[in-house]
């Protein structure tokens, strides 16, 4: 493992301090990267053979991220679209293999696990998706959507499935009488509850919620946020809560990690981060969140857009948009440094 390859040490120290007695974090992400390479077509390959032609295009979706999450913690992961937060979530949930680095479950590399250990780790981490319309199989009844996995894996017997499904549906606030229905017969909020029930059916310890409430109406969002918090208390769940909605993340998270173009730029306890963001990107992001208590505000946006991850700017990825950029920003990649208790930031201004 090339853990110290980058300096991207989001919260390595923090989790150990936070969870006394359980020194091994539940989930540890160690120097993880994900690259998507678009292979060259035949003309390109021939041109390469003759010593010229184009390079294969590579997107660094996630670039050397470290993060550890303690049992019972809620970590919010924020960033704009294209910053790699969903890719990171998918790798943690085991949907996508990382190009580099490792994911450790209770201190053991998931990729090296075999047999029952592997199953345990797979069950323990479940994912809840953004779109409750495309993430449920339209041809399956709710009973089967929720009950299939536990039956297949022998968590419940076939005859006990019905009662088990009832129990889980009740837990997520759905009427078990509706379990013979198909997904299209439910509203968006109800579908999201079905998605949550499906994830809970294999008794997970850790939930990756990828924009899990973004597609819902405001009043339904509040219901689902409350459900997440209740489930956490009842089942002692740990969450990685991925969202672009900062007010939701601020509400639910204990620790917040901000990503920009595949890298972590700042990580801190939610209260500290929202009270005093350090990185210029974090500052800009927080100041631009529309809030109820800010009236007739003069929006002072950061200039420009998130650059293409195909060709990220050198040095600090944020420097072309940064109002405070200076000499080293365009040359040297800033390292994540501890700048306060439990507070890491990657900015040359802190040097």
């Amino acid at each position: 493992m090339t853990r110290a390859r980058t300096g991207n040490m989001a919260g390595d120290v923090t989790a150990e301090e936070k969870a006394p007695g359980a020194n091994t974090p539940l989930i540890e992400i160690a120097g993880i990267s994900k690259r998507f390479v678009k292979p060259l077509d035949i003309a390109g390959r021939i041109a390469r053979r003759f010593g010229g032609g184009p390079e294969a295009e590579t997107v660094h979706a996630v670039d050397g991220v470290n993060l550890s999450i303690a049992q019972g913690e809620v970590v919010g992961l924020v960033g704009e679209s294209g910053c790699g937060k969903s890719t990171l979530g998918r790798m943690v949930a085991g949907i996508m293999p990382p190009s580099e680095g490792a994911i450790l479950y209770k201190g053991r590399d998931i990729a090296s696990l075999r047999g029952d250990d592997k199953l345990e780790a797979t069950f323990a981490v479940q994912m809840i998706f953004q779109d409750p319309f495309s993430s449920l199989n339209p041809r399956m009844r709710v009973e089967d959507i929720v009950g299939e996995a536990p039956v297949v894996h022998g968590l419940v017997s076939r005859s006990g499935k019905s009662d088990y499904v009832d129990e889980i549906l009740t837990r997520v606030g759905l009427d078990p009488a509706l379990k013979r229905r198909y997904p299209h017969q439910f509203s968006g909020g109800q579908r999201q509850r079905i998605g949550i029930a499906r994830a809970l059916a294999v008794k997970p310890k850790f939930l990756v919620c990828d924009e899990a409430i973004a597609a819902l109406d405001v009043s339904i969002q509040a219901q689902i946020i409350n459900l997440f918090m209740d489930l956490r208390d009842e089942l002692d769940l740990t969450y990685l809560f991925i969202s672009h909605d900062l007010s939701v993340v601020e509400h639910i998270s204990e620790r917040v990690v901000i990503m920009y173009l595949g890298r972590v730029v700042e990580a801190a306890q939610a209260e500290d981060l929202f009270a005093a963001p350090n990185h210029p990107y974090a500052k800009a992001l927080l100041s631009e969140v529309p809030r109820l208590d800010q009236r007739k505000q003069d929006f002072r946006p950061i200039k420009g857009e998130i650059p293409s991850p195909l060709d990220p700017p050198p040095g600090c990825h944020f420097h072309p948009r940064c109002p405070q950029s200076f000499g080293p920003c365009s040359i040297e990649r800033p390292v994540l440094k501890t700048i306060g208790p439990d507070h890491l930031s990657a900015c040359h201004l802190n040097d």
Partner: protein
């Protein structure tokens, strides 16, 4: 503040010394006649917008806020129909206006910005072709000056290197850029009214802030009236002068932004504001509105919010009328939260 207060009094029937609102909608009803029954998507909606003013039209999906916008532009297709009511644009009734007149107004005096910029831009035409077309549809102007106008519009909405963008196709631009092009097209003919239907919902926070900034600045500068349709109360809190909250096809509450956000009167507005996460409620349970938005087919008479309302009782089986409880605050409710306001 003053012109708004004046205009408020005007709505309570004093035709003299009024400033003419850019748009007045009175008792608008847009229904969809389906086989399963009539869907009253917009049911007796009245509001107005003054020049240079931004009205935030807030509500959840299915509340009829977008259909209200479409009705103003005459974009309702069968089985939908504007059943009754008046839409007066600078005094001219649009409901009875012939299609030619509407075509003349659309994109010229009244413009609309849609939610999804990929759907509104023609993917096979270059940006300049689309923009020049929008100008020449309404004005006699040669291509060169029309192109210059398009250039200026792109520059105005903060697009870097507008000359290059004019030659680009929509797919070559990012989502934020496309939405800015759509906004530039809306402003091309310097309209008197812009209806913006959730134009920032699909965009990132930083891009949203840029768009809000530009919309605000443009309205201030050109005196264009704007209706900003959104589900996000936090967005209109920072942008709008006045807010109208819609629920199940009706406007349940209107008032100045500060009043509605700080002292909501309708139980639905109270619930909606309570369910928005904010800094001072961190980690607490959010106040949630029980149940879900009602099925619009066969909506029972009476207050549509009754089933979800903590204050609902037998009186609510009668549809509440619009009442002006406080100056400038219209509300449709039998049991408004008046005690908090007087306290």
């Amino acid at each position: 503040m003053n012109p708004v207060v004046e205009a408020m009094e005007v709505t309570s029937n004093q035709p003299e010394n009024r400033i003419l609102p850019t748009l007045e909608v009175e008792h608008l009803k847009t229904h969809f006649l389906t086989r399963a029954g009539a869907v009253k998507a917009v049911d007796d909606v009245s509001f107005y917008v003054n020049p240079g003013e931004i009205l935030g039209l807030a509500g959840e999906s299915g509340s009829g806020k977008s259909i209200t916008g479409f009705s103003i532009l005459g974009l309702i297709d069968p089985p939908g129909k504007v059943v009754s009511g008046a839409i007066r644009f600078k005094g001219e009734d649009l409901v009875t206006a012939p299609p030619e007149r509407l075509r003349d107004l659309r994109g010229n005096r009244i413009a609309m910005i849609f939610q999804d910029p990929m759907m509104t831009l023609n993917p096979v035409l270059r940006i300049d072709t689309q923009m020049i077309e929008a100008v020449q549809a309404h004005r006699r102007m040669d291509r060169k000056s029309a192109r210059q106008l398009a250039y200026d519009a792109l520059e105005m909405v903060g697009i870097p290197a507008p000359a290059e963008r004019l030659n680009a196709y929509p797919h070559q631009l990012s989502g934020g850029m496309r939405q800015r092009v759509a906004i530039a097209i809306a402003f091309l003919n310097e309209p008197d009214l812009i209806i913006a239907d959730e134009p920032t919902t699909a965009l990132d926070v930083t891009i949203q802030a840029q768009i809000l900034h530009e919309a605000q600045a443009l309205c201030k500068r050109t005196g264009t009236a704007m209706i900003w349709i959104t589900h996000d109360l936090a967005v209109v809190a920072g942008l709008a002068d006045r807010i109208a909250v819609m629920y199940a096809g009706r406007i349940v509450e209107t008032g100045l932004t500060d009043d509605v956000i700080d002292r909501p009167l309708h139980p639905y507005s109270v619930g909606l504001l309570g369910s928005v996460p904010s800094a001072n409620k961190r980690g607490e349970r959010l106040q949630q509105i029980p149940g879900m938005t009602p099925n619009m087919i066969g909506l029972p008479p009476g207050c549509a919010f009754k089933a979800r309302c903590p204050r609902g009782d037998d009186v609510c089986d009668l549809a509440p009328e619009v009442s002006e409880l406080l100056p400038g605050r219209q509300i449709r409710c039998h049991h408004p939260h008046l005690e908090e306001v007087s306290a």
